[in-house]
Symmetry: C2
Subunit: 431 residues, 2 copies
């Protein structure tokens, strides 16, 4: 690939982590899909000097295209357009049609806030309509237009695409940006690159290193593929980038990994465990599910219902944080809790079957554990979790976990394990 690009994400709130950046990764993915090599993302605060330094660096690194996000708002600390104008040595001018268009948007927008200060609205309007001369304008989604700012005539410098910070405004502008002449000129020579992902669950990352060596020894030229492995939320992801001409080689590699790790590979097509479980529940045949969660407190239900269409199979969930709720909602016998404790194999199984029968579902899930930081004992330390999944047809799987880490990590990891347990049990019992 010869076309190179860099991304600059601006905003003190992103630099310091109050806001998680979604734009950098998303733009990276778009660039990859276009066959443009994305080398690095620079995150800077709202200081103009820092934005300018990042522009200069990426240009010096040979980027022909630079994408910026953020700093297009109506307030005084939003300075990206001005800095990019300076970088491209273009005068800042008010674009009259744009000024009018934004005024129209603001009128509709401020109708909801009758007491709004009109002077501040007008100042913001003027600011957002002031753009580097010669820039292509991308239709505003909110009130901020995007900009594609070409380099100074004959300079050979990069084209800069200036996009707003809110992902819901940035994303819809991408296609228009990619169709501007300056964008196309900057990405000449791009070549399509495939990217594909394998996902495994339940093995350590070092095993993958051994498998890669074994594949090479087996005559699969994996050095012609760009392979990265990564442990994420307890799952291992193997991401491979390759030229379309290497598809057959990649297919051989996938076959090798799949046969070596037949018991732990669960996805060869990029699908997540969430999507797979949704497909298994959707059927045919449709299988309904019900949950009773203690320590995960709704996280399993929230992940299940994140999938569009989950209403078809999601019967309901019981969040049974207290012993009373376990008995009252999921019909766990108080004597059982007294005898074995709320965090026990018996109670996990009873929660699963209780949820199933109370909500008349095909699949029941029960989770009970100690997420901490308090509540642990020597016999039952923080991180101990019992998970059970049972089917109306009688099949049952139970798992005891002893998880390290924070409350958040324990709850998150448990949720992932439960999705995998449920998915496996359904796959094994599919008709």
């Amino acid at each position: 690939m010869s076309a190179r690009a860099g991304i600059i994400v601006t905003g003190t709130e992103v630099l310091t982590g109050r806001v998680v950046d979604r734009n950098g990764p998303w733009c990276s993915e778009q660039l990859r899909a276009l066959g443009v090599d994305h080398e690095s993302t620079v995150v800077v605060g709202d200081r103009p000097a820092d934005i300018l330094a990042a522009l200069n660096w990426l240009a010096a690194e040979g980027c022909a295209l630079i994408i910026t996000s953020g700093g297009l708002g109506p307030t005084a600390d939003d300075l990206t357009a001005t800095v990019v104008g300076e970088f491209q040595r273009r005068e800042m001018v008010v674009d009259a049609p744009l000024h009018e268009q934004i005024a129209g948007i603001l009128e509709r927008f401020t109708a909801r806030w009758p007491s709004v200060d009109q002077e501040s609205i007008a100042a913001g309007n003027l600011k957002q309509a002031t753009i580097p001369q010669g820039a292509a304008i991308l239709e505003p989604i909110g009130t901020a237009p995007g900009l594609v700012v070409p380099p100074p005539e004959g300079s050979g410098g990069p084209t800069v695409v200036v996009l707003p910070g809110p992902p819901s405004e940035l994303m819809p502008m991408w296609d228009a940006a990619a169709q501007t002449p300056a964008f196309i000129a900057a990405t000449e020579g791009r070549a399509k690159i495939e990217q594909s992902m394998l996902r495994l669950f339940g093995i350590p990352e070092s095993e993958i290193a051994a498998t890669l060596r074994a594949a090479q020894a087996d005559g699969i030229a994996i050095d012609e593929l760009e392979i990265t492995t990564c442990l994420r939320r307890g799952e291992i992801e193997i991401v491979t980038r390759f030229a379309p001409s290497k598809q057959a080689l990649y297919d051989r590699f996938v076959e090798f990994v799949a046969s070596t790790h037949a018991d732990t590979i669960f996805s060869v097509d990029g699908t997540t465990i969430d999507q797979q479980l949704a497909a298994l529940l959707s059927g045919p045949p449709l299988r309904t599910i019900a949950l009773a969660e203690s320590c995960t407190g709704g996280l399993v239900a929230a992940r299940l219902t994140e999938m569009p269409g989950s209403a078809a199979y999601m019967r309901g969930g019981l969040i049974v944080y207290s012993n009373e709720a376990k008995s009252k909602l999921a019909a766990v016998a108080p004597e059982m809790i007294e005898q074995h404790g709320a965090v026990s194999e018996e109670v996990a199984v009873a929660l699963a079957s209780g949820a199933r029968s109370v909500l008349d579902a095909d699949v029941g899930v029960g989770v009970t554990g100690i997420a901490g930081p308090g509540g642990g004992t020597e016999q039952k330390p923080v991180g101990l979790v019992w998970c059970a999944v049972s089917l109306a047809s009688g099949e049952l799987v139970v798992r005891k976990l002893q998880l390290p880490g924070s409350r958040q990590l324990i709850r998150d990891r448990t949720t992932t394990v439960v999705l995998h347990m449920t998915s496996r049990l359904l796959r094994e019992n599919s008709t």
Copy 2:
């Protein structure tokens, strides 16, 4: 502040967004707390040339301290230590005591995986014990040690702190890193900077711009404070950084904002709505809570139970995705659902009081809506949500929302609104 620092986050998985970076923001916060000026974070893939380019740039920008995260694993694509060694012109050497220490960790670790490939383990062990000569070693949390690598003698270059990628390994190493002589030397001249945050809910961002101008007009020299505003999950955050000598000025500013926006400001001390609601429920007096969630599908419960100690007040939750579950679990009359529809004011109120009485709680929350993408009609479009909160003492608040955006956004925003509604109602009814 004279001490400047930069952060380099490595990993193709972070660059392309498969993994959300938590390390950059976290390290930024630590630097700020130390009074070190953090200018920018560079995210690069696993390519050594890109890591080296980022090191060179930050050094050229005048950073006396550079923090890297990631690329310390046992596999061949983990190259950060080697690149930093090259950057600091230090030979790579095997540290014998470290080699032995990691071997011990691996022995305990691999006991869980009996079938593991011993050769790959040994190779990873050797790799992780190979470090730039003269680097200070930070005790491994997993198997990767952290490193503090001083510049070449007399070069005046930056100290590089090399930390592992998993946040659970990186974070515990920070304090040890900050106490090494090379770190201390690199951050000489640092000056304490305060950072404080105001949070508001329910007003547009442009109002804040107007308030800032009004404060200035009122004689509050806000240009001596570094103020950034940001809209996040429906809440506005005003973050101010200032020298400790400007505390009185900041206090005047807070007073001005609080009196201008008395009805929408909810936090002046950095606390989140989650923490405030937890405190209100914990009491005294203790107030127990129960939920019945339809479209949020467990998200409200998951956020409530994310707080340590929530077991004290969290009676339980009902996830009532289906009409049957609404009736069976939360005692909503089927006739009511038939007459008004599942997404209606009546059903939201019935869910709140149903959850409350079924679980014998002081506070009941009911949520029902259409998160989409399917299921909308002309009368009840996607994004329509009814939320209700009721107290055993009879107080009730109901809100109708019409939210834009994706399924995820609608569910997330609804969750935030519900936490604010509950918090306000409890504050108004505290004794």
